[in-house]
Amino acid sequence: MGDRSTDGETASTEPTNVEGDRPIIEETTATEAATVHEEGTELERTIGLVGGLSIGVGTMIGAGIFVFPGLAAGEAGPAAMGSFAIGAVIALLVALPASELATAMPRSGGGYYFISRGLGTVYGTIVGLGLWLGLVFASAFYLVGFGHYAAAVLLEVGISVPFNPAAPLGVLFGVGLAVLSVTGTERTAAIQNVVVALLLGILTLFLVYGGLDSVGVFGTESTPERFAPFGWLPVLQTAALVFTSYLGFAQVATVAGEIKQPSRNLPLAMVGSVVLVGAFYVATIFVATSAFPSAELGTFGETAIVEVARAYAGPLGAVAILLAGLLATISSANASILSSSRAVYALSKDALLPREASAVNLRWGTPHVALGLAGVPIVVLTATDAVVLLAEVASFLHLVMYGLICVALIALRRNPPDWYDPDFRTPAYPALPAAGALASFGLIAFMDLASIVVGVGVIAVTFAWYLYYTDDVELKGKL
């Protein structure tokens, strides 16, 4: 299976990894509707603009609205709005370069693909494994969030248990999701679209009502509070924490090979989803901090937004938001598991992970090994119940990738391979990608020390894997 005639006569001299496998680099033609391989096999592009936006928004919105508002307001006060805005700006600074690279290389694998082709194998390996593990941390974080919502639901309906059920519930659903992703053949994309539309509907209602209320159009006037009661440093620290809410746009690029009309839909889906969720986040913090003093919000923890809804719309509002929270966190976790498995596939195809990792079973047609490589560590990490650590390590690993995406863009623009012909060009080059790289790396400095240590540890392990496994595989410049 691994041996293909398309490797051509250069095959014998091509460098290999420690197992003797070499990357599978194939001539393909990307059309608007399909990818056509040299020997004529076609891969259908089936995800439209709505599907792309739904992947981006669906991945992101679970965290920013349903997990972070309480934590963020507790740390930064109403200025947490600024934290989310900073996050949105950084995400946009990366989304634009990522859009250019994605239209130049509409292949599955996303950020990993751009960096391995733009900067070479060592960065590619670190980022690729970092992307896989980053998504594992992110999924675990969403599942912990889900656990808290499920626990709140139990509380709401009056079921009490002698222990905190949040983590066990998260683990239980993590296992369920992983099993479903291997055995389920329903139209998951269609379900995801419906879930995202439903969420945006509920949230729009809630935010419009809460917003009008808090500016005094009707109801009680809101509590005036100092904008940044804890000073400005927490605003930046909070921005680093909540950046996990912006990890979804790059997931659009991991399915770039399946997006219809990639030159149009990829930039629109990536930039559009960041702008959309950014607006929702800022509005949510505004409404939340108008309802409660931020210190009080902080004590509500992960499910603070439920209390906000209760304050505005009574028990009915609380129930609606609880259900929305369950949907949102589970859809984020699910989207991340799937992206993570795609990252494993991309690495395996490039001989940076063993070939077996990309095996597909004929029974369900699913990549069970890659899904397992995502699902098992996710469940283990969910059991830790360490919301902040999981979120920050996920952000850390993504920020490293984002920074390197910007660097890869600059490298490719300065020294373009002959295939480099993006349909979308980043404006304000080179200032914008340079700012994106600096901001991405800079944000890491504001994280908790523990998160930085774990993040650096993960990077060190990926580098060790590069030294041990990849041997002399060369990916730079190979489309």
Binding site: S5, T41, L43, T46, S108, G184, E186, S358, G365, P367
Partner: protein
């Protein structure tokens, strides 16, 4: 092939011969190389094949054999291809061989997709297919049912049926469901018979049959069970489902044998005329040509 072929050249050429002969894709002249192209989709990795009855139906045709493998959303199509392409190509070549033995000219394509219908529609559109065969099993082909619905689709349905079956020992039953307009029915059936005979179908093999029904799909399916295959015109003009019209799709779903759905002409050919729609209620009516 070059004078001194390397191993790689040979294997590439062999692969290309199997999977993409380009000879028919741009050729629209039906007189020289048989009617077509006719799209034949097969679920290539699930062992779907073409049985002798289907091969007979297509024995004079130019066939576009589309092997497809549908994967769930959580699997990148490229990943499925990575693992199954060789097996799929091999299976597809086998199926193509069976059709070729029967006399058809076959071009093959292979697609990995999340969405079967989208892929079929795209390929049908790209290649200008005149019809699609849903290759349900049929051990033999002795008689074919041709439900006729309108004077507009009549020419294409009867014309293609005639082209495919001319000279074969296969009975053709022209079938008409009517509500009140006997005159139109007679005219449609007569015209269809003329077309078949003009294309070379033995007049002795042509029969006509008229029924009345308020539930056309059920009636067609019931009647079809007495026959080996069904040829019918596509009905639903919506852009997204132009391979299988609604009625035709239902018949194809419920009828156990092969169904040839004759495609509508492409949209740009008659841009000024009102869109023609046949649904279950208007199935037995003509589309205004006679009134």
């Amino acid at each position: 092939m070059s004078d001194q072929p390397t191993d790689t050249d040979q294997s590439n050429d062999a692969r290309e011969d199997q999977s993409t002969g380009h000879e028919t894709a741009t050729d629209t002249d039906t007189d020289t190389s048989g009617p077509g192209p006719i799209l034949v989709p097969v679920r290539v990795l699930e062992g779907q094949s073409v049985e002798p009855g289907v091969a007979t139906l297509l024995s004079r045709a130019r066939v576009l054999l589309l092997g497809y493998h549908e994967v769930p959303d959580q699997t990148p199509p490229g990943q499925a291809r990575f693992q199954f392409e060789d097996r799929a190509t091999e299976r597809l070549a086998d199926v193509a061989g069976e059709l070729e033995v029967a006399g058809a000219t076959v071009e093959t394509r292979l697609v990995f997709t999340h969405n079967r219908e989208q892929s079929l529609n795209r390929v049908a559109e790209e290649t200008g297919c005149v019809g699609t065969v849903i290759p349900n099993p049929a051990m033999r082909l002795e008689d074919v049912l041709v439900p006729l619905r309108s004077e507009r689709s009549l020419e294409r349905v009867a014309g293609l049926t005639g082209d495919l079956l001319a000279g074969l020992d296969v009975g053709v039953t022209l079938y008409r469901l009517e509500r009140e307009d006997e005159e139109t029915s007679g005219r449609v059936l007569e015209r269809a018979r003329e077309l078949l005979e003009a294309r070379g179908v033995d007049p002795d093999l042509i029969e006509t049959r008229v029924d009345t029904s308020l539930t056309p799909v059920r009636t067609i399916v019931n009647t079809a069970s007495e026959y080996d295959a069904v040829v019918m015109g596509e009905s639903d003009p919506s852009v997204t489902t132009f391979v299988f019209g609604e009625t035709a799709a239902e018949v194809a779903e419920r009828f156990h044998g092969p169904v040839l759905v004759v495609r509508r002409q492409s949209h740009d050919e008659r841009p000024d005329e009102p869109t023609y729609a046949v649904d279950r209620e208007t199935l037995s009516e003509t589309d205004g040509l006679g009134s």
